[in-house]
């Protein structure tokens, strides 16, 4: 029933082959070192480059969403804007408040960026292209994610500024609250694949029934889990509409208010890297990692698939940022505990049902598959509708009118 489809090998494995060729042509004692460097350096180069691309994409996209042009001055259509930004942030004065805790203030952005980079270690960005194939890859990812909270606290506390402290408190409270739905929605995938290794989770999904891949997102629990995962990921990376920790209109920039110049750029970099990393994990868990959705598209190299999906998710992030206004603190917490947590539990139950329902019934695989799909969809949709009813009870939604404006 499930068929693994062989890819067009040469283009797919070009980077893996290149690495082996380079390692083979280095003298023996340095082979380990060169191998490690060749694993690390692409990550350190590619993802910041993607950060640069994303900043200009985001600014242009947000501009268009607001019926503006966006940056269009530096180079054709403003594509060299990131270079201008880089030059600006590098040449700006690095200001440290006099009463700041200098050591911690200095360390905070470094710790943040370092942990953000570490998260990429377990992401399979292509076939045979996982930097570190850990047996507990997903666990590693969340453990590293936990360390970023400490870095955020270091930044907020060491600046000796009430806004930065408030921002850090908000950020930590939000990160802890949304880590629970983030992890719980991943648990459903882990339950089904029976492994914590990111590589094997992707391998499980890179099979095809007919022409359609076994991506988790094609199952009812997977779809719901993916949506919940991405919502939690948005909150986890402090992206709008969950950008309370850095709400410009309230606490100016939150925990990195007292950072300027290159350190500020590092915070920005870390924020985007976290976004890429958590999107990458979402791709790994739900969107089949580097695999193609249809077997007839498998000739496209796996790393193109991964980065294509990553770009699609980034576009989604930008779209949501351009659409939704910032939440209030109580709305944020209510949403986490009253909606996200119950729904992730429902997703886990649905995944359990999926696991134990037979895929084929009465000799017909197709009918069995459809029945299983519908039952699991019902398990997710029923509680969702009930929860929506409960949450909307007593809330009258009407068009807001303004007394003085207009």
């Amino acid at each position: 029933m499930s068929v693994a489809v062989a890819p067009a090998f040469a283009a797919d494995q070009i980077f893996v082959a290149l690495k082996y060729w380079l390692v083979l042509h280095t003298p023996g004692p340095f082979q380990t070192l060169v191998s490690i460097l060749l694993t690390i350096i692409p990550i350190i180069v590619v993802f910041p480059a993607l950060f640069a691309v994303t900043t200009v994409l985001e600014r242009k996209g947000l501009g268009r969403i607001q019926n503006r042009y966006g940056p269009n001055r530096v180079g054709p259509w403003g594509v060299f804007q990131p270079l201008a930004d880089a030059v600006k942030s590098l040449t700006k004065e690095d200001i440290v408040p006099r009463s700041a805790d200098h050591v911690v203030h200095y360390l905070a952005p470094l710790v943040l960026v370092a942990t953000a980079f570490l998260a990429f270690a377990v992401l399979p960005i292509g076939r045979n292209m996982t930097a570190v194939n850990l047996d507990a890859g997903v666990l590693f990812f969340f453990a590293i994610g936990a360390a970023t909270e400490l870095a955020v606290f270091m930044a907020g506390w060491s600046s000796r500024n009430k806004y930065s402290l408030l921002g850090a408190m908000r950020a930590i409270a939000q990160m802890i609250s949304y880590e629970i739905p983030l992890i719980l929605s991943s648990v459903a995938v882990i339950m089904i694949s029976g492994t914590l290794s990111t590589t094997r989770i992707v391998d499980e999904q890179a099979h095809y029934t007919g022409t359609v891949a076994h991506w988790n997102v094609f199952t009812p629990w997977g779809l719901a889990g993916f949506i919940l995962f991405m919502i939690a990921a948005t909150a986890e990376t402090n992206r709008s509409p969950f950008d309370l920790p850095e709400g410009e209109s309230e606490i100016i920039a939150g925990y990195f208010i007292e950072y300027s110049g290159f350190k500020f750029a590092l915070f920005f970099l870390a924020e985007y890297l976290e976004m890429f990393a958590v999107s990458g994990l979402g791709i790994t868990l739900f969107l089949g990692g580097w695999s193609s959705p249809f077997s007839f598209l498998a000739w496209i190299p796996s790393w193109i698939w991964f980065f294509g999906k990553l770009l699609a998710l980034i576009v989604g992030f930008i779209w949501v940022r351009g659409t939704l206004p910032r939440l209030r603190m109580d709305q944020l917490m209510n949403f986490a505990w009253k909606f996200m947590l119950p729904m992730t539990l429902v997703v886990i139950v649905s995944a359990g049902v999926w696991r134990f329902l037979p895929a084929g019934v009465a000799g017909s695989a197709a009918l069995g598959g459809v029945i299983r799909w519908l039952v699991c969809a019902l398990v997710v949709a029923g509680p969702y509708i009930a929860l929506a009813r409960v949450l909307e009870r007593g809330r009258k939604i009407e068009k807001r009118t303004y007394r003085y404006a207009e």
């Binding site: 805790d101 911690v104 850990l134 047996d135 507990a136 666990l139 590693f140 969340f142 453990a143 590293i144 994610g145 936990a146 360390a147 909270e149 400490l150 606290f153 270091m154 506390w157 402290l165 408190m169 930590i172 802890i176 880590e179 029976g194 492994t195 914590l196 290794s197 109580d330 709305q331 209510n334 809330r395 009407e398 807001r400 009118t401 303004y402 007394r403």
Partner: protein, 181 residues
């Protein structure tokens, strides 16, 4: 046991973190140094191929305990340094106890099989799977009991917090009327 370079680096890091946590003046610095010690310990576990223990150490201690300590410091005293000296006579007693614990642990390690590498069984190929199966099959009852206890503790904490808040204004106002609506 052979003292490899990574082990030495991590051991020094862990010990330095611990010593710093004991000697630094500012409470927040102590908490940060403590999390360095936690992270060093986690790295030591990882160095010993105990992936689950290492990552759980990182997740629980650096991700949760350190944050909890930091939050407690922030919400109580604002992390200000206290002028008093960090040395006190009770420290001597603490040092004695620490030495005693260390002696017992060293004795236990020396007499166990770990001191004799020939007796050590190789780690299982897929430790994560083994741990998962053990937790879900053999130790499922203790696991459930712990889960129940933690849930009870959490509900208790919520009840305590809610009772405090209900006093002044009744229920919190989650919905605010729209301007001029």
């Amino acid at each position: 046991m052979r003292m490899t370079l990574p082990f030495l680096i991590l051991a020094i890091l862990t010990l330095a973190g611990g010593v710093a946590a004991m000697t630094l003046r500012r409470l927040v610095h102590c908490a940060l140094a403590l999390s360095v010690a936690f992270a060093g310990l986690a790295a030591l576990y990882l160095n010993l191929d105990a992936e689950f223990a290492g990552l759980a150490q990182l997740l629980v201690y650096v991700g949760a305990i350190a944050i909890l300590i930091v939050f407690a410091i922030l919400l109580t005293r604002g992390g200000d340094s206290d002028a008093e000296k960090s040395f006190s006579p009770a420290g001597i007693g603490g040092a004695v106890i620490a030495l005693a614990v260390f002696a017992v642990l060293a004795w236990a390690t020396e007499t166990s099989g770990i001191a004799h590498p020939a007796l050590v069984t190789p780690p299982p190929e897929s430790a994560m799977r083994e741990i998962g199966l053990a937790l879900m099959q053999r130790y499922v009852l203790p696991l459930e009991v712990i889960a129940l206890m933690l849930t009870a503790a959490m509900i208790g904490a919520v009840i305590l917090a809610v009772r405090e808040r209900r006093n002044p204004a009744g229920t919190e106002s989650a919905e605010r009327p729209g301007l001029g609506a």
